[in-house]
Amino acid sequence: MELNGAQFDEMSGTTGATRPPYEKLAQWLANTPLDFLSSRRAQAELLFRRIGITFAVYGTHESTERLIPFDILPRIIARAEWIQLEKGLIQRVRALNLFLADLYGAGEILKAGVVPSELVYRNPGFRPEMAGWRVPHNVYVQIAGIDIVRTADGFYVLEDNARTPSGVSYMLENREVMMRLFPDLFAMHKVAPIENYPDILLATLRSVAPPSASQDPEIVLLTPGQYNSAFYEHSFLADKLGVQLVEGRDLFVRDDMVYMRTTKGPKRVDVIYRRIDDEFLDPLAFRPDSALGVAGLMGAYNAGNVTLANAVGAGVADDKAIYTYIPDAVRFYLGEEPLLQNVPTWRCREKDALAYVLDHLPELVVKEVNGSGGYGMLVGPHATRAELDEFSKKLAERPDNFIAQPTLALSTCPISVAEGIAPRHVDLRPFVLQGAKDICVVPGGLTRVAMTEKSLIVNSSQGGGTKDTWVIDDVPAKA
C-alpha cells in the first residue's frame, strides 16, 4: 500500500476546487464578514466557559482547568462517505470483541500463529486475571473510540481505543453550541443528529447487565473524581444517562455483590461504566495503593455479579504493536477483507523493520506501543538532531517498545482564525457502541484539530482543539 503524499484538504481536496459537501459552507463563508466570525468565536468561548466544559491538565501549575480550544467551522462528511466508514468501523469493533474474547479464552488466533503469543502475554495491557472465564454476554468493548485519519487516498485507522475512550461529551456539546451560534447554517444543511447518543449508550449498558441482575438493572458511572482530566465528561454523561456518578468510596463489595452507599442504605449495582483504568479498579487485585477503586470488585466481577464496561483487560487491544494485527484479526474471525485499512506500520520488534526505521528516522513518526495522549512520541520531520539521536538510542535499547509510521499527509480542514480561515490538520474519533446484540455508531464523531499551523498533534493534552462534525444528507450533484 502506497500512501499518496499529496496534501488533502477536507474542503478543497487536492486540487483547490471546493468539494461538494462543502459547497454551501464555502458560499456562506464568502458572504460572511470576518468580524461576524470573530464575534461568534468569542461567544463560543463564553458558552463553553459558562457551561463549565473544561478539562484538567496534569503537571501545569497555574490553571488546573482549561478549555479545549473550539473551532466554529464544521467538518463535513457526505452521507455516502460516512456509510462506507461506518461499515468499516462496525466490522473492526466486532473483530476487536471477538479478538479479546479469544485472547482471554481459547487463544485460537495465537495457536494459528496469526498473532505472536509473546506480544500478547508480555503485554502490560493483558490481564492474566481475566484468562479462562467469560464476561457477561461475551462483550469486552462496549464503547470503542476508533481514531481515523484521512489522506488523499481515503480513511485509515490510526489507533483503536478500547480501554476508556473519552471525548464524546465534546462531540455532543460542540453540536449544542453550534446550533445556538449558527441556526442558519443548520437550516441550509441536513445534518444527521447525534443527540441520541446517551440513549443508545444507556440501552447498550442495560443490554450487557449480568443475567442475575433485575429487569431494571442499576447502572452507575465510576469516576476517579473531580481532579481527573475528564471529570467534566463523566458528570456530563452520568447526567445525560440519568445514572449515579460514583467514586470508589461510594461503592463496596459484600458477598461478591457490589453495592453503593445511599441515604437509604446499600443499593445493589449491576453495571459499572467505569472511567478508571484497570490497575486502579480494585486494590486487592491490582495496585494496593490505589484509593480510587473498590476492594473486592474483581471478585464480584469474576463471580458474574457485575458487568464492567469496558471489560478489564480490553486495553491490550490499544497496544500499538497489537494494532498492526487487527486487520488480520478481521480476516481470521469474520472471514472478510477489512474495509478500513491501518496506517502502514513498522514493528520495531522485527529486525528488518527496526533497521529501516533507524535509517529513515527523520521521515517517520515513532510511537511507544503503550503510549497515549500524544506523549512519548517522535515526529521525525519536526525533531531536532539531538531528539533524533536520543530516540535512536531508545529504539536500539528497547525496540519492542516502539512502532513507526510514515509521517502521514493528514487531511486539513479550514478553521476560523483572526485573519480569516486557514487549514489545520484534523483527525476523527467516531464512537462505536457494542451491546449484547446491537452495534451502533452515531453519525460523525469528534473531530480533533491541531490548532497550531503545520502541527500534526491533535491531542487535547497537547493543545489540540475540536470541531463539530457533520454528516450531511443532500450532496449536490457534482458540476
Binding site: 449515579q244 461510594d250 445511599t262 441515604t263
Partner: protein, 315 residues
C-alpha cells in the same frame, strides 16, 4: 441517592448561605463604622463582626491589625481564611462540581458563573476602593439569590432538594443566632434609654445584616425597640431569617426526607423538639430565662442537628 451526593448538596447550600450572610454583615457594619462615635460608630464593631462570622480566632492567628480594611479583606477575600466569602464560593463550586448531576443547569451556571466572575474580580483587585467593595458584596448577594432562585424554580422536589434545603436552613439559623449572640447585650430591655439614640444605629445594623430593616416596620408598626428586634429575629415565623422560621423549614424538609426514607429518626425528633421550644416561647419568658443563655443553647442544639443529620443519612 448517594450519601456523598447528599453530603455535597448539604454543604453546598451551607456555603452559599454563609457567603450571602457574610456579605450582608460586612455591608451593615460598614455603614455603622462610618458613623460618628456619638451615634454608635466604634472600632470594636469590627471585632464583633469577626465574632459573628466565627472567624475571630482565625483572624488573631494571622497577626493582622484589627481595623476595617484588614477585617474586610480577611472576611471577603483572604485565601488563608477558610471561612472567607471567596473560599465559601470556591468550596461551594467544588461541591457543586462533584455533584454536577444533582444540580440543574441554572444552579450550576449560577455557581460556576459566580466563581469565574469572582476570579476576575480577584485578578483585577488593584483598585481597592469602597465602591469596588460595594460592587463585590452586591455581586455575592446576587450570586446566592440566582442560585437559590435556580434551586427553587428548577430542582425536582426530591431528596436532592430536601437535603440542600436542610443545609440552607441550618446554616441560616446558625448565622442569625451567632449575630444575636455577639450583639445580645444591645438587645436587653434595660438598655433602652428614653430618647436615647446611642444604640439605635446598632439595632438597625443588626436588622440590616439579616435584611430585615424594612420588615421590622411592617411587622411592628412602631419605632425600634431592642426586645422587638430580638423577637423579630428569634420568634416571628413570618421573618424568613428568624430562628422559628428556619426551624419550621428544617422540620418540614426533614419530614419529607423521613417519608421517602420510610423512617423518622434522631434528626427529625431533635429538630421538632427545637422547633417546639421556639414555637411555645414568648419573648418575655425568653428574656426572663436569659437571652444569652437561650442563644447559646440554640447554637449548640443547631450544631447537634447537623451531626445527627450526618449520622442518619450520610453514613
Amino acid at each position: 441517592m448517594l450519601s456523598r451526593t447528599a453530603d455535597n448538596l448539604y454543604w453546598l447550600a451551607r456555603y452559599m448561605e454563609r457567603a450571602d450572610f457574610l456579605a450582608r454583615v460586612i455591608q451593615a457594619s460598614r455603614r455603622l463604622a462610618a458613623l460618628p462615635k456619638a451615634y454608635g460608630g466604634a472600632d470594636s464593631e469590627w471585632e464583633s463582626v469577626l465574632l459573628s462570622a466565627g472567624s475571630a480566632t482565625a483572624f488573631k492567628q494571622t497577626n493582622r491589625p484589627l481595623d476595617e480594611a484588614h477585617v474586610i479583606e480577611f472576611l471577603a477575600f483572604a485565601p488563608d481564611n477558610p471561612g472567607s466569602i471567596r473560599n465559601c464560593i470556591e468550596l461551594a463550586r467544588t461541591n457543586a462540581r462533584a455533584v454536577r448531576t444533582a444540580l440543574t443547569t441554572d444552579m450550576w451556571e449560577a455557581i460556576n458563573g459566580g466563581y469565574l466572575e469572582m476570579q476576575a474580580i480577584e485578578r483585577a483587585r488593584g483598585a481597592k476602593t469602597g465602591e469596588d467593595l460595594t460592587r463585590f458584596l452586591d455581586f455575592v448577594k446576587q450570586v446566592s439569590l440566582v442560585y437559590d432562585g435556580g434551586a427553587y424554580r428548577t430542582m425536582l422536589r426530591d431528596d436532592a432538594y430536601w437535603f440542600s434545603r436542610v443545609g440552607l436552613f441550618i446554616e441560616r439559623a446558625d448565622n442569625t443566632a451567632r449575630l444575636l449572640d455577639v450583639k445580645y447585650q444591645l438587645l436587653l430591655p434595660e438598655k433602652e434609654v428614653v430618647g436615647g439614640t446611642l444604640d439605635y444605629f446598632q439595632w438597625t445594623a443588626i436588622l440590616r445584616a439579616v435584611s430585615a430593616h424594612t420588615a421590622y416596620h411592617w411587622v411592628y408598626r412602631q419605632s425600634l425597640k431592642p426586645w422587638l428586634v430580638a423577637d423579630l429575629l428569634i420568634l416571628r415565623p413570618e421573618m424568613p431569617r428568624s430562628l422559628t422560621s428556619c426551624y419550621e423549614s428544617v422540620v418540614r424538609y426533614l419530614d419529607r426526607l423521613a417519608t421517602t426514607h420510610g423512617r423518622q429518626g434522631q434528626a427529625q425528633r431533635h429538630a421538632r423538639a427545637t422547633y417546639g421550644n421556639l414555637e411555645n416561647m414568648s419573648i418575655e419568658t425568653l428574656f426572663q430565662g436569659g437571652l444569652h443563655e437561650f442563644i447559646g443553647r440554640f447554637i449548640r442544639d443547631n450544631a447537634q442537628l447537623g451531626t445527627l443529620v450526618s449520622e442518619q443519612y450520610l453514613f
